[in-house]
């Protein structure tokens, strides 16, 4: 099944690095979208939902934690969207909190193509 992906990170370079790592992992997406923060992502998701979102935690304007809560509360069209956080933050408290708020996974930086395969492949089936 053709899947769509959105990468949300305030660093353009990090978005490119994530895209490169996904290609190296062998995972394929028919369509990829990008956003620079949570607010921009929600604005784009209102127009067209995606299957999977990869999202940074610390971003200006609207961070990843707030974005997850808003998507789960205010965007019924994204009910089936899987959200995986990608961050240097690695405390168990943070990970547990965002999973409880509705995220489906957490990848810590530094990451590898294998890590993306391991986290995303089950969500794509």
């Amino acid at each position: 099944m053709a899947m769509s992906l959105m990468i949300v990170d305030d660093s353009v370079t990090m978005r490119k690095i994530i895209m490169r790592t996904i290609k190296m992992s062998g995972l394929e997406f028919e369509k990829t979208e990008e956003a620079g923060n949570g607010a921009e992502a929600i604005s784009k998701l209102n127009v067209e939902p995606v299957d999977i979102i990869l999202c940074d935690v610390n971003m200006p304007e609207m961070g990843g934690l707030e974005m997850v809560k808003k998507i789960r509360k205010d965007l019924p069209s994204c009910k089936k969207t899987k959200i995986v956080m990608v961050s240097t933050e690695s405390s168990q408290e943070l990970i547990d909190g965002v999973i409880s708020d509705g995220a489906n996974g957490f990848i810590t930086k530094p990451f590898t193509p294998e890590k993306f395969q391991e986290e995303l492949a089950p969500l794509m089936n």
Binding site: T13, I17, T88, E89, S90
Partner: protein
């Protein structure tokens, strides 16, 4: 009290992990005691607060920064790397090394609040934290081609 030798090793381990997994380059501690980085340099830094406060920085020459950026982005030797991409990539290296170090220090010092990274360019750049601070300096050899300098300025707080 954080042990400086231990912190030095953890900083090197963190840098190795980041360079090997995300930049696809091997790094090791420089064998020479002093390797001045000549010419124009980029200094990517990130500050942190908590039981420890301070700043982690990576300093490298223009050529080194360009190679790191190209590798992170998966570009070939003939591809152009934009100035913004180079600057952004060096900031990300500081950010991810800090994340890796923070994970290693979690059991010893608890959580640290980390800022958004910043990058400046110039010559003979140095960061400073004032009196009462300690400095860890690790020079790394990247693929036997480039030298970069990682520094950790820190001060233990009573928080």
């Amino acid at each position: 009290m954080i042990d400086q030798v231990c912190l030095n090793e953890l900083l090197l381990e963190s840098a190795k992990e980041v360079f090997e997994t995300m930049i696809f380059m091997d790094v090791d501690r420089c064998s020479d005691a002093e390797n001045d980085i000549e010419g124009d340099v980029l200094l990517g830094s990130i500050t942190f607060m908590g039981d420890l406060e301070g700043c982690l920085a990576i300093c490298c020459g223009d050529d080194c920064a360009k190679t790191i950026s190209a590798n992170m982005l998966g570009l070939g030797p003939d591809d152009e790397v934009g100035e913004d991409d180079i600057s952004d990539a060096i900031g990300e290296v500081a950010n991810i090394v800090m994340g890796s170090l923070k994970a290693r220090l979690l059991k010893q010092i608890g959580n640290l609040e980390v800022s958004i990274p910043s990058v400046v360019s110039g010559r003979k750049l140095q960061n400073s934290l004032g009196e009462g601070s300690s400095k860890i300096l690790v020079q790394i050899n990247i693929e036997d081609t480039h030298v970069a300098e990682l520094s950790l300025l820190y001060r233990e707080t009573n928080n």
